[in-house]
């Protein structure tokens, strides 16, 4: 479960990116986070991953109190999250398989678990045949599916994606969203930041709308009004 209570966040240069945000995302939910450019969506993601700290308020993520977490606990908290970025962030020198093995090893997985888990996850994102390819030998959509596989491979409670479709064409975007919905149906909480109004409307999921660091709408359905300019 993710819970933000009266969260404020100010960057070092004085930009007040988040101003009094309160919201709760239950386990197993699928949530779109939308809003205009610069409204604070990525900042919320960074607050969830512990990349930046709030200057006021409380943040709870999967049982960890992020607002006053100890340095030792941050890695444990991050293991409950799988993060996906617009630019994939795969390691180009490593094959698809090794990209996944690498993050499993990083959290202390044993070779046996790694050998068992990776084929399963690659099957899930439909990339079983491309395990030995390098990222540069894959299409954008395939690379993003590798990134999803990587986010999933350590079996996190929650997947957080910051504009995962930003670099994909509409068909690939739809495919990717369908994949995230499928993952959600398998039991993982999914939070997706996106600009793509059509997609959001299409899925009829919960949508949280941010503007100027405030939550201005939180409802099931689609985009509110014509406010979003992306």
């Amino acid at each position: 479960m993710i819970r933000l209570k009266d969260v404020e966040m100010e960057y070092d240069n004085g930009t007040r990116a988040i101003q009094g945000v309160t919201l709760t995302i239950e386990d197993g939910e699928f949530v779109f986070l939308v809003g205009p450019s610069g409204s604070g969506k990525s900042t919320i993601i960074k607050l969830l991953t512990g990349e930046v700290e709030p200057c006021a308020g409380r943040i709870m993520i999967n049982g960890f109190s992020v607002s006053n977490i100890s340095g030792k606990q941050i890695p444990l908290m991050r293991r409950t999250l799988g993060v996906i970025f617009q630019d994939f962030r795969l390691i180009e020198k490593k094959t698809v398989y090794d990209n996944l093995a690498f993050v499993m090893r990083a959290v202390g997985a044993r070779p046996k678990e790694i050998q068992k888990r990776i084929p399963y996850v690659l099957e899930l994102v439909d990339l079983a045949e491309k395990a030995d390819r390098y990222p540069t030998e894959l299409s954008g959509g395939e690379q993003q599916r590798v990134a999803i596989a990587r986010a999933l491979v350590n079996n996190p409670n929650t997947i957080i994606a910051d504009e995962p479709t930003g670099n994909l064409d509409p068909d690939r975007s739809l495919e990717l969203m369908n994949l995230l919905v499928k993952i959600n149906e398998l039991g993982t909480t999914v939070v997706v930041v996106t600009h793509e109004k059509d997609l959001v409307d299409r899925f009829g999921k919960r949508v949280i709308t941010i503007d100027s660091g405030h939550v201005i709408n939180d409802s099931v359905g689609g985009y509110v009004g014509g406010r979003i300019h992306g």
Binding site: G71, I74, R78, R79, G82, I91, V103, A106, G108
Partner: protein
């Protein structure tokens, strides 16, 4: 979790080292040079110290007994002399003994044979513990009632000690500087690897790798650079030392200098090089990754 994945960290550290072949080569070169300079100075100091010990053993103070003292009275002074701090032993030499010794020293000189013992004085040959306190000891010996005069090579001892002290200071300063330089170079080599691997590090942190896990490969890299430098430096030092020892041995004017055999020194040299190499390597890697693993 919890288990230290030695094989993995070792493999990663090794591949880090090879990914920057030239930089690693340079870092090893500098560290080897530093260790060699340290080692050479230390070995010179060790040998000088050994010579000093020889000098201490050979360097006696001769204390002459007042010639109004009888043989028995002169012998009685022994306990007074041995009570002086820093005196290792005081050996009584009667004028008869001194005469005989003198004659024996110049067997070819006819005029030095059959000398009258009365031209000699009863004396003590005093050995001291610490050469550095020689002057104090001389003064104390002079104070003893019944000692008329002393004869000691205070200047030689003083000069030698000054040289040794200066050498020690220079040596320590040089070692400190070279140490810092080596740590700096290794640190920069490893910074290069961390820069190379910044994407991997970012991903590891994102998925919840502990700082320890991220750090270890770099610590291994530093450790291996340091240890490899130590091994290379050791063999070079050995060769260098053997060559110098040979040279001294073959040189007639340097016959007085006794060089310790390397066989006697190598365990200490190996130990010190390994310790210094590892310290430099690990120190360098820790300084490289220190600031970059906060949060």
């Amino acid at each position: 979790m919890g288990k230290h994945n030695f094989g993995y960290f070792f493999h990663e550290g090794l591949s880090n080292m090879f990914s920057h072949g030239f930089m690693s080569f340079a870092a090893i070169g500098i560290t080897v040079a530093c260790l060699l300079i340290m080692g050479t100075f230390t070995l010179v100091a060790v040998n000088a110290n050994e010579l000093l010990v020889d000098l201490e053993q050979e360097n006696e103070i001769l204390a002459y007994v007042d010639d109004t003292y009888s043989d028995t009275a002169a012998k009685a002074l022994q306990s007074d002399l041995e009570a002086i701090p820093n005196v290792a032993s005081a050996t009584y030499i009667s004028k008869e003994q001194a005469t005989a010794d003198f004659s024996a020293e110049f067997p070819e000189e006819a005029m030095f044979q059959d000398l009258d013992p009365e031209i000699f004085e009863d004396r003590y040959a005093i050995k001291i513990v610490d050469l550095e306190k020689m002057s104090e000891t001389c003064r104390a010996v002079e104070q003893v009632t019944g000692i008329s005069e002393i004869n000691a090579h205070e200047e030689i001892a003083g000069g030698f000690i000054t040289i040794r002290n200066v050498a020690t200071v220079v040596c320590v300063a040089l070692i400190a500087i070279l140490f810092v330089v080596s740590v700096f170079i290794i640190s920069n080599t490893i910074k290069l690897t961390t820069f190379d691997r910044r994407d991997e590090i970012a991903i590891m942190r994102m998925v919840g790798a502990t700082n320890g896990f991220i750090r270890w490969p770099f610590v291994y890299e530093g450790f291996m650079l340091g240890l490899l430098s130590a091994v290379i430096a050791f063999f070079l030092q050995w060769g260098l030392y053997a060559a110098v020892a040979q040279g001294v041995d073959n040189n007639d004017t340097m016959q007085l200098i006794r060089i310790l055999p390397f066989q006697q020194l190598w365990p200490a040299v190996a130990g010190i090089f390994a310790a210094a190499g590892i310290l430099i390597g690990v120190g360098g890697s820790l300084s490289a990754i220190r600031k970059f693993l906060q949060v």
